[in-house]
Symmetry: C2
Subunit: 423 residues, 2 copies
Amino acid sequence: MTDYRRMWSDLNMDLEKHDQLMNALPLVYEDVFLRQAGRPRAMDYFDSVVAEIHSERIAELQAHKNQGGKICGAFCVFVPVEIARAAGAIAVGLCGGSQFWVPDGEKVLPRNLCPLIKASVGARLSGTCPYFQSCDLLIGETTCDGKKKAWEVLNEYAPVYVMDLPQMKRPRDLAAWREETGLFLDKMEELTGQRVTAEKLAVEIRRQNRLRRALERLYRARQADPVPVSGKDALLVTQVGFYDDPDRFIERTEALAAEAEERIAAGEGVFGAGAPRILVTGTPMAIPNWKLHHIIESAGAAVVGEETCTGTRFFAHQVDEGGVTLEEQLQALAERYLKINCSCFTPNPGRIEDILRLVGETRADGVVYYNLQFCHGYAVEYHAVEKALKERGIPVMKVETDYGEEDTGQLSTRVEAFIEMLR
Amino acid sequence: MTDYRRMWSDLNMDLEKHDQLMNALPLVYEDVFLRQAGRPRAMDYFDSVVAEIHSERIAELQAHKNQGGKICGAFCVFVPVEIARAAGAIAVGLCGGSQFWVPDGEKVLPRNLCPLIKASVGARLSGTCPYFQSCDLLIGETTCDGKKKAWEVLNEYAPVYVMDLPQMKRPRDLAAWREETGLFLDKMEELTGQRVTAEKLAVEIRRQNRLRRALERLYRARQADPVPVSGKDALLVTQVGFYDDPDRFIERTEALAAEAEERIAAGEGVFGAGAPRILVTGTPMAIPNWKLHHIIESAGAAVVGEETCTGTRFFAHQVDEGGVTLEEQLQALAERYLKINCSCFTPNPGRIEDILRLVGETRADGVVYYNLQFCHGYAVEYHAVEKALKERGIPVMKVETDYGEEDTGQLSTRVEAFIEMLR
């Protein structure tokens, strides 16, 4: 067994503070996940990933580094990980989902900024996240004001490269994003010293497409009633998808989806048939942010889908695999990534179409609009989403919250009342 | 005399609600402006502009419309008004600076959004701003998440055209902004049905350059000790510069600057020699937002400069007048406007250079960093600005506030303590 404390120490981590974090996680995890009744057996793997989230996977990253490989960390579903991998780097997700990191983030960032950004920066500053510590380069993007400016602060502590995402989706914006994708390829080649060839990129495009299809298969299984896998578990799987070795993740997710399909055939589920069904839409939920799902499912409703960055925005749309040259592949990558309907675009009608379609596909009885506090993009876009849902008679409630526990009781009460109305 | 009530009624305004707004303004104005001792005589003009802000200037706009002319309203210093004017439109500023409009904005926007955006949208929704009511087109931009998304909401009530401002300042971003400037020209031609010729555009470029130089001259006068014009008055002049007829504004501002220069020669000022000198930096102050300046100057310090959108960012840098073709002129316009160092750019080192230079030029004793609540860009950028100022031993304090009066007492106390420290 690897000496993880030695590894963490070599990564310049704050061991004492990290112990606090690691001691808290198992208790929370048991409460949120392990006590669920009738979980699929295939969730065992994901439980073990979380149990070893700062040890086994980090050891893999270190092994890669010891062989001269590079690690890059990304915060956003717009970063084309295919390119990083084709350059020989391992790409890992970096979003901070714990209140534990917020106070350290607030040392350099305003308090009234979204908890995800504060936690991300705090995770790096506090030296308690081995993913951050392992990264040779952090890949930021310009999706929102908070992140766009936070990278400047973070850059004082770690090397950061920022991809400039367009704010509209006109043909000229796609062309600009195509160029930006090419600049990212150049940067990755510079980082790793390896040449990205069309052959390598084709392999990674196919790999990430498989990963997306595996998640889609799991999501489709959630359309059944009774639902064969809980929303919490499905969310966890997606969250793990940002960190894990992709091939292993695909295999394990396919296994889970297969088990879910067996359950559907057998009429088995984790909630009773007819349980209220909720589609969650809004801002991302980075690991270990399971707050809203835990509240909803503790109230007896099933979360049947997530129109979020830790949901459909992560895996919807395949990259066209027909590209033979790097030029064609970069164009295909740019096209696929620009299909993501983030609120950072103006206008963003595609997101409303996605939500309405998902309400139908998941047979949701209602929508919970999840907004991380101070996220202006999604907060303002609620106006249009609410209007579209109400016009169609689809119940919707807005939840604006952070990572703290102070509002949990109040939120539970509101969510319970909403679910009661759906029954 | 024009029948203004009839005019407002024809503009579909809410007359009763508008009366409430108009009844409050003179009292505030007297308290903030007219009670200042030793004001320059040339401020009489600007006082009269404010007194007639919803009447005389609006009558001018209506006269223009009655002759088939178009009015367009802009929210931001990045909108190249030269192009609108060259197409025969009148361009007016539209920022909402009053708490009066915030509750109406909050009907369709989240509460924790910057008051400027809420007030702007609220001004349109409430039908109490004759500038909004006069506009044939509102020109938005993508400078911040809040505004970018608010235009989508506003577009339900009025036609909005959005300019996509780049988020970086690389050569390719300048090229993109040059294209965007050309698209804006096309849009203006479409709106007015008039062709923008190089001749017309040259006239407007020279005109707006003169306007900028007039404001610069006034700002230079503020470098003297004692300062010949108060910060409140200088701010008011800049605010009026967004609304007024440009030729008249240039003439009156030049007259004020000349009077200020006479005062300097005579050793006269509105504050005693040696009074503490404050540079304000941060978010814009739209008319009638005079809150911070009033607090600072009521405490006995002079505001000697504004590194804000209602300050140097509005008038710094001339457009190169050497362009002969439209292509050359559009390039020159794009270059000038992209020199504005807004926090929406990443990174934005030019703003820190501007602040440090302005501290020197204005001989400021300290800097007040003004942040409209929930403006993420300027809030996060404070980290870098504070660091640069502290490294040079320049005192700085951060003020985060909205348009309400609830925090005025507390702010006054903080500002007084800061000024005391500078003496």
